[in-house]
Amino acid sequence: MTMPAISPDNVKMLPTTAAPVVAMRPKRAPRADRFLKIARATAVRVIPPLIVLALLMLFWELVCRRAGSTLPPPSKVFKDTRELIFDPFFDHGGIDKGLFWHLSASLQRVAYGYSLAAIAGIALGTLVGQSVWAMRGLDPLFQVLRTIPPLAWLPLALAAFRDGQPSAIFVIFITSIWPIIINTAVGIRNIPQDYRNVAAVVQLNPLEFFWKIMLPSAAPYIFTGLRIGVGLSWLAIIAAEMLIGGVGIGFFIWDAWNSSHISEIILALFYVGIIGFVLDRAIAGLGYLVTHGTSAN
């Protein structure tokens, strides 16, 4: 918008017949004004967390700088891990790789396990939500199984698969599937009778009903489950990798502890937190895109 702001002076200069029309136009702020507005809105959201972060860092620095402190202060963390931060892509063979490779290995496991959990979870949730008998049969089982801590499954998985990789994927799967099943089932059970009546009058077959009514209607619930699930699977993979070893951010942390590289642990935790946050936002964003404008009213 290069149009200048309409001030009373501008209007006065125009012919009198055109004046009312011009006056009716909505006023538009000039470009600089709008940028200022956006900048202000951003600043309001970004500055408070930055201030809190700076204060926490300062506190940490002060507490840990004393001699004999067990944990390194932020300045030391940065100095120790500079190489890891600025070169995440090195690969010296074995598990001596850059953080990028560790994180991508972990993310890959999560991607496999979580995708399987999403597919199986939505399918099972639909079954449980749709059929009273399936619910009666399966729900008690789900309620017991979902309380088992993720890592408790790992030995059993190792015994069954005799390999770390599929066992880790299984742990992700079994951790993230429960909230997906339960939320999908609630979503399916909450499909309004009206929509079922519409489907009945139009005579949709079960497959069409599933795609055209069930999934869109239950989508907000399903995405709630998916979002909880992705958070849990990221929690589980770190713990599982500590035990199975190999390339992965979980074992990277454990390895750093064994070599007493405390700074590396702190850096890894920082990355784990950021990625967990991004995963959560990504699923939330996807849910927003898919269910946009679909809230019943």
């Binding site: 009206d194 929509y195 009945a200 009058v201 139009v202 005579q203 009514i213 679909t294 809230s295 009213n297």
Partner: protein, 264 residues
């Protein structure tokens, strides 16, 4: 006269636990092709249940519904329903909501282009072509109900079932939509069964008014012919003695002989 739609000795009982409630008892009704029949009664008299039985959404306990001499006991597009709360699918656009039924009913008999033209034709009938790409949340209550009517009409139903179609609308929108439905009935000659609790609406729109007694065990108390000539004009009718007489008959039935008793 051979009935087009026939309700034959319909009883309906609901059982919950040990308690059995008889909602409808011995409903007999013959409806001719092209007829506009209203069913009126106090709330709780089972008129919605009756419509659901015709639609096939609820089964009758005893008796049956015959449409062109064939028994109907499951829902289908030949008895399209316009629901009270419009029941448009909020994740589909206006066009897609109508398309859902059309694609299913005319999957084999119409080509894709023909179906598209047919959807637009029906949206045009209810004057909603301008909003075809909007979602239900973006249009007003009256418009939603128009789309609901278009969706039902587009399935080319043998009988159009209206379940209190104007109940949730404000008075002005309601009058406007009543006129539209009257014009559509005039133009297309559909057979229509409408549930209502509005006496003026029933007299204005119907050829016959079926008055229900109070439940439980509600049945048809009286059937009133409305011999007003069509097309009917709302304003002219306001002083028409025949209209007033019909209106009085229904009012007497509802408020004198079968006064609504609040269920304990």
């Amino acid at each position: 006269m051979k009935p087009y739609l026939k309700l034959d000795h319909i009883d309906k009982t609901f059982t919950r636990g040990n308690a059995t409630t008889e909602v409808l008892k011995d409903i007999n009704l013959n409806i001719a092709r092209g007829e506009y029949v209203s069913i009126i009664g106090h709330s709780g008299c089972g008129k919605s249940t009756m419509l659901n039985i015709i639609a096939g959404l609820t089964g009758a306990s005893i008796g049956c519904v015959l449409l062109e001499d064939r028994e109907v006991n499951s829902p289908g597009p030949d008895r399209a329903v316009v629901f009270q709360n419009h029941s448009l699918l909020p994740w589909l656009t206006v066009y897609q909501n109508v398309q859902l039924g059309v694609d299913k009913v005319f999957a084999k008999s119409k080509s894709k282009a023909e179906r598209e033209a047919w959807i637009l034709h029906n949206l045009n009938l209810v004057q909603m072509t301008h909003a075809k790409d909007k979602r239900p949340s973006e249009i007003s209550g009256g418009m939603k109900q128009r789309v609901g009517i278009a969706r039902a009409l587009a399935m080319e139903p043998k009988v159009l079932l209206l379940d209190e179609p104007f109940g949730a609308l404000d008075a002005l929108t309601r009058a406007h939509l009543q006129d539209s439905v009257m014009a559509l009935h005039q133009k297309l000659g559909n057979t229509i069964v409408m549930i209502t609790h509005d006496v003026d609406e029933a007299v204005l729109l119907s050829d016959r008014i079926v008055m229900m007694t109070n439940g439980p065990s509600a049945t048809i108390g009286e059937v009133l012919d409305v011999p007003l000539t069509r097309p009917r004009k709302r304003l002219d009718l306001a002083t028409d003695p025949l209209y007033l007489k019909c209106r009085k008959r229904v009012l007497e039935f509802l408020y004198e002989r079968h006064r609504f008793v609040e269920a304990a």
